[in-house]
């Protein structure tokens, strides 16, 4: 009966694949836990890997809190999206630091804003982690007051608040 032989092969291949999968994931520096955080109502979605950039404590979940900070004029808003998206439209007065081009943009930023400046980063909403990535980079640069406005540009625009150009 070939089916018995095929079943035997399955019983080797499948458990081997699953066992190695869990083993590699356990020892890998980029491994992830069995369960991530995929509920946008709780914040930016994340697989919660060991090198995860998402830090819940930095998140501004309440839109009005972000608006209040914006209106106070004390903080600089940092747009972590791509330069194209920034050029198209961004929160009024926001400075562009694309997450994947941080090193190119940070020199000019540090020259303009001392590390004591409160910073609010944002990107394209709760499915985007670039705001968190830039926030972590800025903290590494010495900025101590960094927050992440997790609803980002889409909700800001939707609510009709000031955007540029």
């Amino acid at each position: 009966m070939p089916y018995k032989d095929i079943l035997k092969e399955f019983l080797i291949l499948l458990p081997l694949s699953v066992a190695v999968a869990f083993m590699v994931n356990h020892f890998s520096p980029r491994g992830i836990p069995f369960f991530g955080e995929w509920d946008v109502s709780k914040g930016v979605i994340t697989a919660k890997s060991r090198n995860d950039v998402v830090v819940r404590e930095l998140e501004i979940k309440d839109f009005f809190e972000a608006k209040e900070i914006f209106d106070s004029g004390n903080a600089v808003f940092v747009d972590a999206r791509s330069p194209d998206m920034y050029e198209e439209a961004h929160i009024a007065g926001a400075v562009s630091i694309p997450a994947y081009m941080f090193n190119e943009y940070i020199i000019e930023f540090t020259a303009l804003y001392p590390v004591s400046t409160p910073v609010v980063t944002y990107c394209s909403g709760r499915e985007c982690e670039d705001g968190h990535t830039v926030a972590q980079y800025l903290i590494e640069e010495g900025y101590s007051d960094v927050r992440v406005f997790i609803d980002g540009y889409p909700l800001w625009f939707e609510r009709g608040f000031s955007v540029e150009p």
């Binding site: 291949l13 694949s17 590699v24 995929w38 979605i45």
Partner: protein
């Protein structure tokens, strides 16, 4: 069946090429997912088809369900089960892609690299590619069952 076509289908080299294409494709596709499980998990989330509790587990296990059967096909061991696993996975990819095409949902396929865009034309290309590979997979399953039965 035309005897020439039949001879070609059963030819050792044809079987070898089919196995290597299928196996090589799956091993290659698995590697970047193994290296970046968090990125792959986000892609699975983007399909909007899986419950939240299953996303990380799928991201951990799936790359190895691609890698080992792919490797088995390249090495020529456990051919029938390896090809069956790969064909089943391809069938599920085809179903997943079709559902997202039908509902007009844009997503990142993540098949061979993170960031493979899921726009309409690209998704249709992906679907055609998966159907092509699925045919290869079914061919390997059937031909290996037949030749091993014949050799018994």
């Amino acid at each position: 069946m035309n005897p020439e076509v039949e001879r070609l289908l059963y030819h050792r080299r044809t079987r070898l090429v089919a196995r290597w294409i299928l196996g090589g494709t799956f091993v290659y596709a698995a590697l970047h997912k193994i290296v970046d499980p968090a990125g792959f998990a986000k892609i699975i989330y983007g399909y909007s088809l899986f419950p939240e509790y299953s996303i990380n587990l799928i991201a951990i296990i799936t790359p190895f369900l691609e890698f080992f059967p792919g490797l088995a096909l390249i090495l020529g061991i456990y051919l029938r089960s390896a090809a069956t696993i790969i064909s089943s996975m391809l069938l599920s990819f085809i179903v997943i892609l079709s559902i997202n095409i039908a509902r007009g949902h844009e997503f990142d396929c993540g098949c061979f690299s993170i960031g493979e865009a899921g726009h309409a034309s690209a998704v249709v290309q992906l679907l055609v590619r998966d159907i092509f590979l699925f045919v290869f997979g079914v061919y390997v399953v059937l031909i290996e069952i037949y030749t091993q039965r014949k050799s018994v």
